[in-house]
Symmetry: D3
Subunit: 243 residues, 6 copies
């Protein structure tokens, strides 16, 4: 089981914590090596609290955000977090940035990938990151891209939970029980000192998704008593031997 891997593609350096911190910690616990790629630090658009401090510069914000993200990754038992530092608001990826992401995908050979919702009128960086995840997954599957490298198979791409799900046209088709690792996710959340207003919000989300987990696993007639859960939307169909 030691060679199972997963890859998270996070538009800004904090996204992975709120949206799939539980999935990360749980799969680490199950023997996966989870790699996190932060395409940007969210230094311009997701660091309001920091910018309200005096004497702040772009570099200082990026540094503060990097440290928070590294702390959070550590809290989730992740050993591999990479910062592409591509800038945010807007996030943009040129050909070489795409190839850098393809290199990571091919190196990791993930069993599954995680990224943002397909729609987000509040935050175009989020949907752009997902477009890039899809495009780079395709390039990583091309036999003629860096011939000789191990070509990517067909990993699932899960879209993690966005803020204001209904506005993002996001519909979860799988709920993951993260009860066993909730304390780790909560610790990681608390590393996000710049966005304290979201801590409570995402605890509520985790509790309420657990209600959905219970209901969909049987409700009052046999549902499993999860206390915290996360939801995900799959892009591709699954292939199974049993329904």
């Amino acid at each position: 089981m030691a060679d199972k891997t997963a890859l998270v593609i996070s538009a800004h350096s904090a996204d992975f914590v709120w949206r799939c911190g539980g999935a990360i910690a749980l799969h680490q616990q199950r023997g996966y090596d989870v790699t996190i790629v932060c395409l940007s630090y969210g230094e311009r658009g997701e660091s309001a609290k920091l910018w309200k401090n005096e004497g702040m510069t772009l570099e200082k914000v990026k540094e503060a955000r990097r440290i928070e993200a590294e702390n959070a990754a550590r809290a989730l038992d992740v050993h591999d977090i990479q910062f592409f530092d591509l800038g945010d608001y807007p996030l943009e990826m040129d050909r070489s940035a795409k190839e850098r992401l393809v290199d990571v995908i091919r190196k990791v050979q993930p069993a599954f990938m995680l990224s943002h919702s397909k729609v987000d009128p509040y935050n175009t960086d989020h949907m752009y990151a997902t477009q890039m995840a899809i495009e780079c997954r395709m390039i990583a599957q091309a036999w003629g891209h860096n011939p000789g490298e191990k070509v990517l198979g067909a990993p699932q791409l899960y879209l993690f939970e966005p803020h204001q799900t209904e506005q993002m046209e996001w519909k979860p088709d799988v709920f993951l029980d993260i009860s066993p690792v909730w304390d780790k996710k909560w610790a990681a959340i608390q590393c996000m000192t710049g966005q304290e207003h979201l801590w409570h919000y995402y605890r509520n989300v985790a509790e309420n998704r657990a209600n959905h987990f219970r209901r969909n696993s049987g409700g009052q007639s046999g549902g499993r008593p999860a206390t915290h859960a996360e939801g995900f939307q799959s892009i591709f169909p699954r292939t199974v031997d049993e329904l």
Copy 2:
């Protein structure tokens, strides 16, 4: 594993063969007891070939259709096929017909259910059957319906493949490898002597769905060489411990 069960709700007596014959045979092989409910025989609307014979009556058509369906069920190793004989074109279920279906659902306590697509402008019986499956699933979950009976949990409802999928707004999110039982499905198909024009069609479907299975399980980089497959669309989210 002997107590695993599944339930197929088929608007007309032949639908289960084309649309999920492979799933039925496969799960029987895996130790499931699969129950098939045929709400009608399809005697008016899906028996054109029979009606072209001379001296045909409604009863004769129903009898011929019942025999075909029983033969097909046998070919799929099914021991429990029930004919509700509710009439077709249009299929209609009154309160007592619904309660009869609820009784079956509660008795079977299926791990999952199978029925038609949600939309079908060619055949309103199909979408009606799915509405009934959803409504009766809900009633079976009600603690106040026949108090004392074992209440239903939260089984998945899979929508099996309709004819002309795109017109039915049906989108499969799971492909099932039915290669090991294709010969059984093919035998069941050949029991449908009244609809021979569809045999070849559904063999093509099974072969092409296998292509989708291969592609989604890894394609040219590790995809599994399935020869025949079936697709299904899930109505409810899954609850899992691993992505």
Copy 3:
């Protein structure tokens, strides 16, 4: 060409005028026999002006509406208009009403059918009429329904233009040039003395749909100079020999 036929299924007795009066007159001119079925008179819900008169009764309203509709049909050169008088707000069809409609469909053997939009939160009679059109089309195709009768083929079902198209999720995929018969449609519209507030509205619609006709037939580079048009949404795919 004398044996071409078409069938309009109108929830209330005036709907056919505003929504497809041009199509009716044009096809009559082209040698079609168009049959119009008015499922109700719209006596309760679409006759506000009449009800504001003193001493009005349901029968008087129905009579007034019938006369208007007959006059409009005459203005459109239609010889066959049938009133099912099933009541409105809400319109309801039991099994025998459905069979009556099936009888008409089979007798007419229409090359195409016309009815309402699939969605209408303002007026559930409209979407109900379309459901019935779809269900009865299916029954008319059943070889076991009144065996021996000529079975229906696969006529297109066009949804004519509803009021407030965007709220009805109606999207036209075909525009019909009704310029040659606009005077007839305008005469038919003026037969609707109880709904004078809609005359101008539907003239505007016809003029603006002509703009869409011009644009989609070539715009400023060869578009045909239609002056009036109607739009329709197809339910079923077309079968062609040339794109």
Copy 4:
């Protein structure tokens, strides 16, 4: 302002509490008279906890549910709560039940109406209630229905928040700040002694919807500090004098 009114149409007797208790209390406070119609008690399908007690009967469950609902209505300052007692799982309304609802609509002449989401594969009673709300709103607008009565205008129909919003294809387009009446909603929630497992869930919902309120009213640049909110989806377009 004393003559402003609103109408809530609740499939089961507890729905109005979780889903729009804040809106009810707030509008009562603003001088509206809010009428609540409970189409059923939810006695069969939404009273699992009660049914687990010994010696329970349908009448006892209904009585218990009625008392809870009356207490909750009182906590929300509502003077008019009506129980139609139509049965649940499934809820069904015949012609006379529809006319009873139309009578209430016409009597109340609501400035706006509230009901369930349009889709709910878990609970068909919910979407059925909304269909009935839409159909009865239409009948109430018919000049020929009980001529002489005051005809209904065009009140907005708001769909209140369902459980598992994403599965219900529900998308809120308006957030209401219920901070001033949260204590009343919380008191009403606590009247629901049979569904204690939902109290915490809906407190979380109210807190998180307040986050959405803050964000959409300006976020970190001027958003209003609401502590609790409710979301609603509008069926009809608004008519305004200023954007």
Copy 5:
């Protein structure tokens, strides 16, 4: 009320006239300062009539279009119209063009913004302009973008009416009564001498939208007698204190 502002983002220099000229004039009358940004002149793609003249050059077309737009703006009482001159068919915005638009947004601090529909297969410039409006709104909200500047709150983005609404998947959720300023909009429309074929079309639109206004404000039972109206689709949910 003097400090209320609004911002229109128009792909081509004439779009604002047809699509929201009434909203502009009305809000000017109500004390708003409305700023109009024309991203291009529509010089290549929306000036067919001009190009049919002899000796025409790109500069001459742009000049003619600028004069028309300025005249129209004046007719609508607008004092601030800006021409970005970015080119059309296709319209493209690089990083500096985006920042220029962000600067305007921040300077105006609009209470609401207006732009095109999200979909337009006839005219990709239109949907591109809306993408840019959404992206630049986001950048304007970033505390790290030009730190020290006043950060944008959360203004609504209204999508104004496209040509052939149904093809653009545009659905209005708000109708604005522009009767009081119709004469101004009509005057502005007549400034568009190069597109005279659209004058009548958009008068029809305004009249028919007034019908929708009347119907949705009460219809025959209290609807307000608007003579002209405009429709808009909101991107973001509203935040309110009363439904």
Copy 6:
């Protein structure tokens, strides 16, 4: 009839064969001149089999792909196939590539165009090609683009059948009977020596689409006995003189 033309825009050099080879051959037979533009060779992403050979280079793959495509075009009786060689995985078109495509569109003046589905999460090149087809169609209609050239009218854009249609949100609204030219399409398919695994798949598709053709042209009551067919989705509404 000699001056009828059509234009196929194919992302990779083999796409036109599988997806619209029948339409091409049929229209050639009917006197059309069909032009095929291959934006790339699919050299990186759709040539797995070739890359498994030793000593392969990008140029060799492109050469092999070009020869295959030319052979296939010949088998379909096409005289004009153009290779833009823009690269694949990802396909990218800068301003000059767009203008090159516009030049072809204007030169061909197609009666209709053919390209890919609008959505394709497996292959972003496909949906990118369609975006470009739509954008370049628009530019070709601009009177100010290369003034003096013949401006494009309003040709239909048909989306040909993608792989895994349901995942691509592709819904055919027209079926074309390609029975008379199936032997030519089959010959063209067999030119694709690098993708032999798809031959059988697309023969099944053609056979099953013929079933849809038969059903939609009348089914068991008069449907035409097509043996092979292709499906297409229209982007724009049609303009007609008869329904």
